[in-house]
Each structure stands twice: as C-alpha cells, then as structure tokens.
Amino acid sequence: MIKDYLSLALRSMRHRQKRSWLTIIGILIGITAVVALVSLGQSMQRAVNKQFEEFGYNLVTIYPGSLRGGFRGAFSATFEIDTGLIAGVEGVEAVGAMLYKSAYVKGGEPPSQVEGFLPVIGLSPGIARVFSQFKLQEGRFFTDADHYAAILGQNVPKDLGVEVGRELEIEGQPFEVVGLLAESGMGDNNSAIFIPLETLWEILGDRGKVSMVWVKVGQGYDAEGVAERLKARLKEARGKEDFSVQTMKQLQQLIGQAIGILQAFLGGIAGISLLVGGIGVMNTMYTAVLERTREIGVMKAVGAKDSQVMWLFLIESGLMGLVGGAIGTALGLGMDILAVVITKRFIQTNVLEFGFSAWLVFGALAFSFVIGALSGLLPARSAAKLKPVEALRYE
C-alpha cells in the first residue's frame, strides 16, 4: 500500500519537477546548516576528547578560586599552596606546579634582533614527572642544576630567531636554550617560553605563588577519589575552600558542556531556516491540492477514502522533506570535512577531528521527513476534506 502511494507521490513530484526541486532546496538549506553545525560541534568535541586522551586521565589539577570565572580568570590568578602537603596525600604519585607570567624577551643577534612580550611559564621540577605531555623535539628537560635555562614552545624559534644551544634574554637576563617542545595540542604552549619556577620567582617576584598545580595519580588509584582526598586535605589545612580540584574527566565534561551549549545555540539558529523550508513545503502542497482538486474528486469517486487521500499528500510532502534531507545531510557533512581540512592544513590547529556519526545521519533524515510530513499535514487535511461533488466540478 505504502509502496503504491510512494510511486504515486513520486509521479506527481516528477510532473511538477521545477517546483518540487525549489521546495526541496528550501529544506535542503536548512538541513545542511543544521547538520554542518551539529557535525562541527561533534568534531570539536572529538578533538577535545583526543587531547584529553593524550593528556591521560590520571591527572588532577588544582586552581586558585573556582572555574566558574572561566579559564582566563583561572590562568591569571595565583595562589600559594603547600606542594609538600599535596605530595603526602594517598594516591599522589607526582606533583608539579606552573606559574604563568608575561615577560619582555629578546632573541637573535643584532642587527636582526627581535624583542617583545611573550608568555613565560615557570615549571617546578616535578612537572617532568607529572607530564608525559612535555614531549621534547630537541634538547633536554631542566636538571636541578639549571637556573637560567629555557625550553621553547614549538613556534618560538621562528618568532624570536633563536634555537637550541643559543641564548635569549628574559627581562634582561641571559638564558640558555636547552630544549624545544614538540608541537602541543594546547595551542598556548606553542608560543610560550618555559623556565624553572625558581628562576621565574627570582626575576619577576611573586615568590611562592603558582597559577596551577598538576597532580599525577598513581597506578591503581582512582583519580576522582584522589581529587576528593586532595580537596578535603587542602580545605582542612587552609581553613577555606579558595581553590578548585578538578580531574581531567571533570574538566572534559565542563568543556563538553560548553561546546554543547554553543552547538544548541547555533543549531537553533539553523533550525529557523529549516522552519522556513517547512513553510515552503506547506505552500507547495497547498498549491498542489488546489491544482489537483479535480484529480482528488476523481480519486474519491473511484473509492478513495478521506484518509487515503490524506496519506497520498502526506507521503508526497514527506518525500520532498526526505530528498532535501538526504542531499542536505551530505552537504552538511561535506562542509564539516572541509572545515576540518582547512583548520588542519591552513590554520594548523587540531581543534577539529572529523568522524562519521550514524545517528546524526539517520536523525537528520528522519527529522527532514517529519518536517516535510508535518508541513504537509494541513494541506493534506484540506485535500482529504474536499467534497467529491465540488472537487469534480472544480475547473
């Protein structure tokens, strides 16, 4: 039965080809926008997840204040914290601290000397044990004997005209470049200079203060549990909760939520164009009902029930939605792939990671069919309700 209706609907769509296509394009644009945005959001999420996986889930971070103020706030705030206390908590394998600063740096040889402000990050000796992420492309990590030694982010040699084994100046102090960091998924690290935390305190003050603490959880320990213990212990020692403890899972969830909100917002805007497409379908179907009034009369005369006439029109409008949806989905995914390629190749960041999502495809197809059918509902009802005698008389 459905098959017969489908073939009848296809027939009538093919007969009104130009108008059918125009209607389909309306749906197509809406679905393309929705699919592209949802798919982009997923790609973003996937890239974030990949970075966290690189990081490893056995890390816990401790920030001053709370994350509610956003990451920017968290990075610029500092606090004094007893890393010895942290190291003593059960399940903590290693502790490292970081201090984010900005400093005046000078590099290269005159006459082609470059100078300006760059982020300078102080690393405590423990960082190397916490992070497998600090992969060096060249040179070595700091030793305890290093004071005026620097490790460069991936982009710094190009920006500043220095290389491993040469010297650069930070706040007027000469530093020896001992290492070059491999490209990092965390974009900020690529243009930063890393020096020992002690040295940073020495040249820029703020002794004892750090921006964040990284804790590596020992094997066999649950990161969440260690985070809870850390929180309790620190609260007890400090007398107040002026810090946040976050596992990588929690952080990942937080970022995921932020992406989700962005996605819902943009998807909503794209949804409006889908609505306009739906109205286009409704308009076309009303015209079709009007044009085919006599045909409807004939169908009723030969025994078509109201419900059968209704289904005939519903399937036709649903089909227009579905065709638009299928093409739109393909285009939307294509746009996502293009965005991924462009960001990787030309902007050289890995903020997007494409992956095929079956539920998105099926969801978009089902949704577009429903949009089409829903838009056809009113016209189909008016077709079904036509009185056979009047429909037959219609010129």
Partner: protein, 234 residues
C-alpha cells in the same frame, strides 16, 4: 421486473436536493422517486440545469440528498459517513465522465489500476485485471500511453475500463459522448450496451436523444422533476 421481495439496486424516494447560492436556495431536485432494478439500462435525459448531474451524483453516492431517502441495495445511505460512502463507491459503482477525468501523470494501465489501489489489491492482481480490461476494450497496444498520447475515444475507453476495475454492479455515465465525434460516440455507446447485456446496471445521463436510444428505459427531467418515462417492452 425482478422477482418480488428482492430490493431494487438503487431506489430514490421523494428526493430533494437544495443548494444555497448566497442567499438564494436553488432546488436542483424536487421530489424525485425512482427505482432501478439490477440489469437495467437507464437514460436520464433533460436540458442543462434540469438536475441530471445532481441525480447522477446522488445515485453514485457522491453526495447526500437534502430531503428524502436513497436506498442502495435496500439500505438507506442518508445517514452514512464519508468513509462508508467511499466504500460503496469503490466496490459497487463505476463512473464515466464527459471529460474522461483521467489522471494525466499516470499511464492508461495505472489509471485503470487506481480504483484497485484504494481497495488494497496487490500489484500483480491489479496489473493483470487492468490489462485484461484494457484489452477487452481494444486498447491492448495503448497500455503504457499517457492520457495526452491518446485520442478522445481511447481516453473514454480507458475511463470505462477504470469504471469496471472493481467489478461494480452499477456504472454511471455522465454525458460520456459529449466530447466525442458521433462515430466514436456510437462505439462508446455500443460498449455500454454490451456491458449492460453482460448484466451490469448502466445509467446514462445525456441530453442527446440518439444516445438515449441505446437505453432500455428513458426518463426525462425538467426543473428537478421527472416529467416522462418510456420503458421498452422486453
């Protein structure tokens, strides 16, 4: 006449049909009574505006009377719902129109299949039946032609085949020869006569006496009332 006790195929009792045209009421039919036995060939004659088409619509269960009763196979249809009327039309009645009213996006074969689609017949059953009917009407080589590729006479034959698709008891024809030249018209009327000879009840609405001559029973409508009836002796 059929044996007493058996209800007529369709019976009209004091049927009135009134249309509202703005503030004016137009009485298309004023108290028409008529009993049609199975196997009859009735011609309804009359000038335009006499109520012929209205009468045909009522006999075809396309519309309900304003007053009076219509009995189809002895059962009053006045209280029936749209779906039930559609059921009767689909199974028991076939229509042939003056303007053929074929669906122009469908081929001859598919047009004949259409009434069977709504009855839920399988595709193979429909195909076979439609092809058989079209062949019987001399259109064996026109099965896959669309209406605009067919002559008027051919289109009307397709329409007749469509009317016969669900093997109805009653075939209602509204000026079936009105858009055809006289030779083609005659051959269509011959076809209707042979349908009647096979036992099917045929109603022919026409203003053409020559066409009406093919019927066994002729009634005359004027201003919504039956004014004369001629019945041929068997």
């Amino acid at each position: 006449m059929n044996s007493p006790g058996l209800a007529p195929l369709i019976e009209l009792r004091e049927v009135w049909k009134t249309y509202r045209m703005g503030k004016v009421e137009v009485h298309a039919l004023r108290g028409v009574s008529l009993a049609l036995e199975e196997g009859e060939f009735l011609a309804v004659m009359g000038p335009s505006g006499s109520g012929k088409s209205t009468l045909m619509h009522l006999m075809g269960c396309l519309d309900l009377p304003t007053r009076g009763a219509i009995l189809f196979e002895g059962a009053d249809i006045s209280g029936l719902k749209g779906t039930e009327l559609a059921e009767i039309r689909g199974k028991k009645i076939g229509f042939v129109f003056q303007t053929f009213n074929l669906v122009h996006t469908l081929t001859a074969l598919e047009n004949v299949e259409l009434p069977m689609v709504f009855q839920g017949a399988t595709r193979s059953m429909r195909r076979a039946r439609a092809a058989e009917l079209l062949e019987r009407l001399g259109l064996a080589d026109r099965l896959n032609h669309r209406p605009n590729e067919l002559s008027g006479g051919e289109q009307q034959r397709v329409a007749i085949a469509r009317a016969l698709a669900n093997d109805p008891k009653l075939v209602l024809c509204d000026e079936p020869t009105g858009n055809l030249d006289s030779a083609t018209g005659r051959s269509i009327l011959e076809t209707l006569r042979s349908l009647n000879e096979e036992g099917r009840t045929v109603v022919l609405v026409t203003h053409d006496p020559e066409a009406a001559a093919y019927a066994k029973w002729r009634v005359q409508l004027r201003d919504g009332q039956l004014v004369a009836a001629v019945k041929e002796a068997r």
